[in-house]
Symmetry: C2
Subunit: 342 residues, 2 copies
């Protein structure tokens, strides 16, 4: 467990500590031969610079922190993988913490990460809370922070967003084109900006195609399958089922499909169901689920690159990157009566 230090290497070669340091850091003021000699014997001695000492000396931790609501589902996992790819290749290590969809936990996580002196932070907030004030204050004090996902476009900081309104619109329009007449949107929690964006997209499509008000509805759901199940349950009880459901995410869609089937209803023959934020199960489910695929990996990479720039070059004009998705039509929203499937 005894580590060989820079001193050991220096002593062995009868050179100074500074020379060894210079050799390892590619400095100009060292002769080529001595540098090579140093590197060679250091290699032989199994010397690796102690990262902690380097960090102390350089006043950088080469750690960055990520706070996400959760990473059990694929969405944030994939984003994290994208982030890691960028940072690890730049010599950083990534600390991941989850807020469990809880604003207090989120704030606590951010504070631990700051106390651990991470060089930068990526925050995917669970919801708009007054935490944002704290985060923004840190950002304005010069702490490098980049936001991701559930924040408003007006936020005065760099961020990477998905164009929820647009793709919600496209998804809804697809349902309309498939000639589903009565369409219900099961939204996410309404205190999430993404939920509202998708509601906006839904309503915009309704408006454009002049669907009468009694033929559509927005019902507040949540994030999980059980929310979809509960809502369908309720609608069955009220005898108020639509032709098509457009769900906030795939998980809710799976819940909806399950509950419909257990009531003897077929998807899509009786009722169509559309998801959002595509999961790998969309293809494997019966029926295969139509959904909107978000470019998770790319979102992670872009976010990481923004933060890296912020760390290296200091604060400049905040940048907002809005990414596009992909509407993947599958069995669950195909109306057999419609031949033109555009």
């Amino acid at each position: 467990m005894k580590h060989t230090t820079i001193k050991d290497v220096a002593k062995r070669l009868n050179v100074s500590i500074s020379s060894v340091s210079r050799a390892f850091n590619d400095k100009y003021d060292i002769k080529k031969e001595t540098k090579e000699l140093i590197l060679k014997t250091a290699e032989e001695m199994g010397y690796h610079p102690n990262p902690i000492a380097q960090k102390l000396s350089q006043k950088k931790t080469f750690n960055i922190g990520i706070v996400v609501p959760e990473f059990v589902n694929e969405y944030y996992s994939e984003i994290i993988i994208g982030i890691q790819e960028v940072f690890i290749s730049h010599g950083y290590q990534v600390l991941i913490m989850q807020s469990d969809e809880n604003a207090d936990q989120e704030l606590a996580n951010v504070k631990t990460l700051i106390n651990n002196m991470v060089d930068g932070l990526i925050i995917a907030p669970t919801m708009e809370s007054n935490n944002m004030n704290f985060y923004l204050k840190q950002y304005q004090k010069g702490y490098p922070i980049v936001f991701m996902g559930r924040v408003e476009e007006s936020l005065p900081a760099s961020k990477v967003l998905f164009d929820n309104k647009k793709w919600s619109f496209f998804a809804t329009e697809h349902l309309i084109r498939q000639q589903y007449k009565k369409i219900y949107h099961l939204s996410g929690y309404k205190n999430l900006s993404v939920s509202n964006d998708r509601i906006q997209g839904f309503l915009k499509a309704m408006d454009k195609h002049k669907i009468p008000k009694e033929n559509y509805k927005v019902i507040e759901g949540g994030l999980m399958a059980k929310h979809g199940i509960a809502i369908v349950e309720d609608l069955i009880y009220k005898n108020d089922l639509p032709d098509a459901f457009f769900c906030f995410n795939d998980l809710m869609a799976f819940g909806v499909i399950k509950r419909l089937k257990s009531n003897g209803l077929r998807v899509p023959e009786d009722i169509a169901v559309m998801g959002f934020t595509e999961t790998q199960m969309a293809e494997l489910n019966t029926p295969q689920l139509s959904s909107v695929k978000q470019p998770t990996f790319e979102m992670g990479k872009k976010t990481a690159e923004l933060l890296l720039k912020l760390i290296d070059k200091g604060p400049e004009q905040p940048e907002t990157i809005i990414l596009n998705g992909e509407l993947n039509i599958r069995e669950s929203t195909l109306n057999e009566k419609v031949t033109d499937n555009t």
Copy 2:
């Protein structure tokens, strides 16, 4: 960005640096009043000890590293959450790296983590490779390492395992009791010890119930849905379909179900399908998938606790924890002709 240091606090109160340190570290040799005074003014000045400096001084990084094959699927995500819960509450930060089911990548990850001087390592190997020699050598040199999952019971180091053989046996026996006569096991890669354990369990059940050799088969699959699909495809082509499939994991089971359905076969009426390592989709799929639930969260916690002990108390007798699961019977393996569903 200018941090207040221990010196600033000391100077302000005209005490020594050591006293401030003592106050923060709950040392005995400091008067209660001065300690409180120091803590109060430190608080006022917004002083937090610099963790990097602490780490350098204490020769500990308070970082631990985890290497997993992947964390897109729920299995490792949940394990990681269990690990984090233990370590974060003990003041550690957790560095997570994924090997992408690639042994070289895995080794590289372990080496980066060691170079980053993590205080301990949790390795969930992708497969038995000669990496194990390297890991064991580090372990024997005194580096705290705990293994998880895909390792053999004979490995001379602390580890947390799932009793794959036992639960594979139970799962298979359930299929036999449901009077499925011809049962095929789609295994995982045969260079994984877990695959072999589950094969053993499968064969043991066949043996116990004296199933004739021509009525069962072990087919090497993999880890993903597409492997299940490909195998079913092949069996259909060869006209060699069984009454029931027992799959290495849920993902393969979903692939199997999908491919069977697209051939007009019903699950479970025509063919039953059983998964393993239960996912949240098992309940939501149609039909609901029978599977074996692994105690992922607990596995994470146990692993973390083993490592924590290893770090704190040094190497003792290696400990092996083998955890039990839960056989969850659902629609996909219920034979309507059988009334006694035990």
